[in-house]
Symmetry: C2
Subunit: 304 residues, 2 copies
DNA sequence: AAAAAACTATGAATATCATTCATAGCCATG
DNA sequence: CATGGCTATGAATGATATTCATAGTTTTTT
């Protein structure tokens, strides 16, 4: 008999186009999904997916279920919001600390949606730089930190968001553009253009350059567009998450290259006090954060 | 995490207003539902039901879920019909044999709905009297028999529908109306008004009168209203399922009395060849038959 | 009043069945 | 042709839904 878990996986299959990716999305093994699919096919007497070489495709029947899943899961979310409202757990605060400037890109539309769904929740961005953002959670002066994990502290839960690749960004005719991927040595004698944060917060420095003993002059800018401006004007090289670069690369405004042979990857988490991590609007925030990120951000990978 | 099973039980709770009745509806024990409800309450942090003396009532939160369940389960049924259509299992025949005349009452609207949902299925009522209706299934000249169980035959599945009470129907001023319940001896010296079927198909005769050694003159009529006419005109006593009597009793057209101390009850099954019992439109027919019966027929009880 | 017959709640035992593990086959790509 | 990605599948495992056994309530019956 059909269960919501089936709809959740069908939905993930639909969005990812691959069993293993879908499995990571719903926090199960690939095997589990494969068995689920089998059950569905046996139940309805029809294949739900079709192998398309590397990836898979939903069949007509699968798409019917995916459409159903979309509708149903949406309706469930709405109802759960209503119930949260009934339980008077729909008000409170969601003060967000961003460790990573680029996250503005996807956070803004998310916050808009959230504000619509939870009008009673006081939504805020905590501004300024913070040496120890998780401290803000302990203080009670913030509710979520979006950033990397930073070891386990008591009473704080790290919710995995996704893994993304950091690419080197160069001016279009930059000589290094000839290489497919850049290594630490390639960066010598250039200026690094970064957000105005300490060095240890910049993965390119802490994970690549520093281990190789390379120190570079830095220049900072607050906004992503400003950084790209500087790169395009040949003031130096930047390292930015792949997802925000697509448009600029397609317009030949800048070019992007892999860092190291397998790329420089970084993991993003949403950290919350364990107490509030189960409250309805927080759950909703986290789940819609994940789903909108995976839906809109290209090249990111489920975590854990 | 919410699952469809929860929605199915919430829906049953909503319709029956009692945990144990709901449990029988969804073919689980009362304990199972009680645990499910507990899980839901823990998950949402709110009670879902409230004891109202004997029976229970849904809380606001429970009603939210019930509303969701209604919508979602309906949508699922639609999608499953679409998928059945895709699998080309949406055409075939549904030729219904009625062992019990009164069932026309609820079968007609059901057939209308079914015809809308499964236009490609050839829907028919097999008319005439049949000494051995299950034979028709084996012949392949019918697809469902609605009637009592008749022992287990191979390759035939009996799907329980419901248990109903058969009441004695009397003219308003009939002297027997003074008694709360009628026993075999009370029927002596009356005429029995029945459908035109053999004696062994009439429960009042086979289960009550014959064991008591009482034989009565009979008079028959095809239609329920005709039988009621005759009863009202004091031509005799009839025995009919309780559900169809309500209107006539309320208008004092006839009166109805229990037969025996605990009542005369009869079980209704839908029997199908085991082969076709899992085909999509048959499953749909059976499930909507059950749900519409329980929704519209008063005084019936889930079976098994 | 007392007894019987409904009903519901709950902890412990059980059974079911979803998930993982281990593995093999398949398809791309360098 | 080897390597790394993917998927499918049977057997083992683990989680957890369901039942069992039981006690507490409320309603109905005598």
């Amino acid at each position: 008999m059909l269960e919501l878990r089936h709809l959740r996986t069908i939905s993930a299959l639909h969005e990812t186009g691959s069993v293993s990716r879908a499995a990571r999305r719903v926090h199960l093994t690939q095997s589990a999904l494969s068995h689920q699919i089998r059950v569905l096919q046996a139940y309805y007497g029809l294949p739900m997916i079709q192998r398309r070489g590397q990836s898979i495709e939903l069949t007509d029947a699968g798409r019917q279920l995916a459409a159903l899943a979309g509708k149903v899961l949406e309706e469930i979310q709405e109802t759960e919001r209503d119930i949260a409202r009934l339980s008077q757990q729909a008000c409170g605060s969601l003060r967000i600390v961003l460790e990573c400037h680029t996250c503005f890109d996807w956070l803004m539309p998310l916050m808009d949606a959230f504000r619509r769904n939870w009008p009673e929740v006081e939504l805020d961005l905590v501004s300024g730089f913070h040496a120890d953002p998780l401290k803000l959670l302990e203080d009670g002066s913030a509710d979520v930190v979006i950033g990397s994990e930073h070891g386990s502290r008591r009473d704080i839960v790290h919710h995995p968001l996704f893994r993304f690749e950091i690419l080197a960004v160069l001016a279009p005719e930059h000589p290094l553009g000839a290489k497919r991927s850049l290594h630490a040595a390639d960066f010598a004698d250039t200026t690094l253009i970064t957000y105005p944060v300490p060095e240890d917060r910049i993965d390119l420095i802490s994970k690549v350059l520093k281990p190789a003993g390379i120190r570079l002059p830095r220049r900072t800018a607050e906004l992503t567009v400003a950084i790209l401006q500087l790169v395009a004007s040949r003031r130096g090289i930047a390292a930015l998450p792949s997802w925000g670069l697509k448009n600029y690369v397609e317009h030949d405004y800048v070019i992007a290259r892999r860092i190291g042979t397998s790329g420089l990857w970084s993991d993003l988490y949403a950290s919350t006090p364990s107490k509030t991590s189960t409250c309805p609007y927080m759950r909703d925030f986290l789940s819609t954060a994940r789903s909108t990120c995976f839906a809109t951000l290209e090249g990111i990978v489920p975590l854990k």
